[in-house]
């Protein structure tokens, strides 16, 4: 009984690790899509409505992207968008997009409309590059991690039986 339970436990661990890694890649892809959505919305609202950032962020549609939801939540308690981002970024695991967004939030709101639009365009282009790179990585590696995890689990189970 204990042996069977031990075998099950040990073989589950690599399967879960593989699935977790694969899920992380999918989540990163979703986060970048959310960040791209955020930057594009900022560009649009700055260009046409010129809303202050706090209002602009609070008006973003909720429950679409986890990262945007988190930013809206922090914006309610933080005085500046940069400080709200500093709290939000803790959930972002993709390092390259993190540094791009740090640049974005430190430049956001500090200059005139035309400069802000240019900044948004530049950040959107950088995020788009990262999204494409992650897309190809996710499509191949996500499956790989999942398969390797399951195979390792099965292998451990066979070995122990």
């Amino acid at each position: 009984m204990f042996k069977a339970f031990g075998i099950l436990l040990l073989s589950t661990i690599p399967i879960l690790l593989g699935l977790r890694k694969s899920r992380q890649l999918v989540q990163q892809r979703e986060d970048i899509a959310g960040l791209l959505f955020l930057v594009n919305q900022c560009r649009q609202d700055i260009a046409y409505q010129q809303l202050p950032l706090a209002e602009l962020i609070s008006r973003l549609p909720r429950q679409r992207y986890k990262i945007v939801d988190c930013l809206i939540k922090h914006m309610q308690h933080e005085p500046t968008p940069l400080s709200a981002w500093n709290k939000t970024k803790q959930i972002l695991t993709h390092q390259p997009s993190l540094s791009v967004m740090n640049d974005f939030f430190s430049a956001l709101g500090t200059s005139d409309r035309d400069s802000q639009i240019k900044i948004c365009n530049m950040i959107a282009a950088r995020l788009e590059e990262l999204r494409l790179a992650l897309e190809s990585e996710a499509s191949t590696k996500a499956k790989l991690y999942r398969t390797v995890g399951i195979l390792a689990g099965v292998f451990i189970a066979i070995l122990l039986i």
């Binding site: 010129q50 202050p52 950032l53 968008p81 940069l82 709101g109 200059s111």
Partner: protein
């Protein structure tokens, strides 16, 4: 407690906020302005006099003991006033000021950036001047019998040097006329008369007052005539011939207009081209001179052009200045 000063303290950095709040609480005298300059002591203007404030919140005439202002303090106040969104305040920045919540005006000084021969924006801020908006209910009471004539409102110019209380008097006139049941339309280009914030009028302007917030005076006067059917329109700080023409259009449309103008006396007012343009068309019917910045909102003299002696007096001033 000085509530307007407490409102303004929201914009100040943690190094200065407690100092200003302690002054607001102790309420020694009404403060008209807070002046902040990089690497210079924190200054206030009260009763037309320049004073300095120490770190402990004591008011002194000696600048050497005043709390020093840093570039970061100026940046903090500016970003807070812009709601961390400089792009949303481009028009105000081109005019050199930002209106804070409550109608307080923050004047800016720094490096001016030109584009296509016109001011594009301002950067590297070196000093700020926060003018505290005051509400003096009743300061226009003496004027009302002159303004309201057989249920119609006469056109009127409020003249004073900067800090003389023009906006305060206009605000009180708007409230008093509105309370008497006349439809008032305030064209508030700088957001100082009504102190609107997110659609809410910050000051008591009575029950019959419409506000066109942050609206260009020329556009606003036409808008009000077309859409709001006012009995009287109120505009602050007439500065160009274009605006004077818009006032003339309003008056020819049968609507009295009350406006303010920067000038130290009648002679100076008559040398300003918008006033000259209006006077040639026998507008306004009343001219009200206010005191200096030491006595803001105090009516010094009323020229009523329906009275022969006043008309002759102004004519002689006009002739001498010409």
């Amino acid at each position: 407690m000085q509530k307007p000063l407490m409102d303004v303290s929201y914009y100040l950095p943690p190094t200065i906020r407690p100092i200003i709040e302690s002054i607001a609480r102790s309420d020694p005298f009404p403060i008209q302005e807070i002046r902040l300059r990089v690497n210079q002591p924190l200054a206030i203007v009260a009763g037309g006099q320049n004073l300095f404030v120490t770190k402990q919140g004591e008011i002194t005439v000696s600048p050497s003991v005043g709390q020093k202002i840093t570039g970061n303090d100026i940046k903090h106040i500016f970003m807070c006033a812009c709601q961390n969104s400089v792009y949303a305040y481009n028009k105000e920045l081109q005019n050199g000021y930002i209106t804070l919540s409550g109608g307080h005006r923050m004047g800016l000084a720094g490096r001016i950036v030109y584009e296509n021969n016109s001011i594009h924006t301002i950067r590297d801020l070196s000093s700020l001047s926060i003018r505290i908006a005051g509400e003096k209910k009743g300061c226009s009471h003496a004027l009302l019998p002159y303004l309201i004539n057989n249920k119609s409102i006469r056109s009127c110019a409020i003249i004073s040097p900067p800090g003389g209380g023009k906006t305060t008097v206009l605000r009180d006139i708007a409230r008093n006329i509105s309370l008497q049941g006349h439809r008032v339309c305030v064209i508030d280009e700088r957001g100082e008369i009504a102190g609107c914030h997110q659609g809410n009028v910050g000051y008591d302007l009575g029950p019959s007052c419409d506000v066109l917030d942050r609206c260009d005076k020329t556009d606003g006067l036409q808008w009000a005539l077309r859409c709001l059917s006012p009995s009287v329109m109120i505009v602050d700080e007439l500065g160009s011939n274009r605006e004077a023409q818009a006032v003339l259009q309003g008056i020819s449309g049968g609507v009295g207009t009350i406006f303010s103008l920067h000038a130290a006396n009648m002679q100076q007012a008559l040398q300003r081209s918008p006033m000259l343009l209006l006077m040639r068309q026998r507008v306004p019917e009343l001219c009200v001179m206010l005191g200096s910045s030491q006595t803001p909102g105090k009516i010094v003299h009323i020229y009523d052009f329906s009275r022969k002696e006043d008309a002759l007096l102004v004519q002689s001033i006009w002739n001498s200045s010409a």
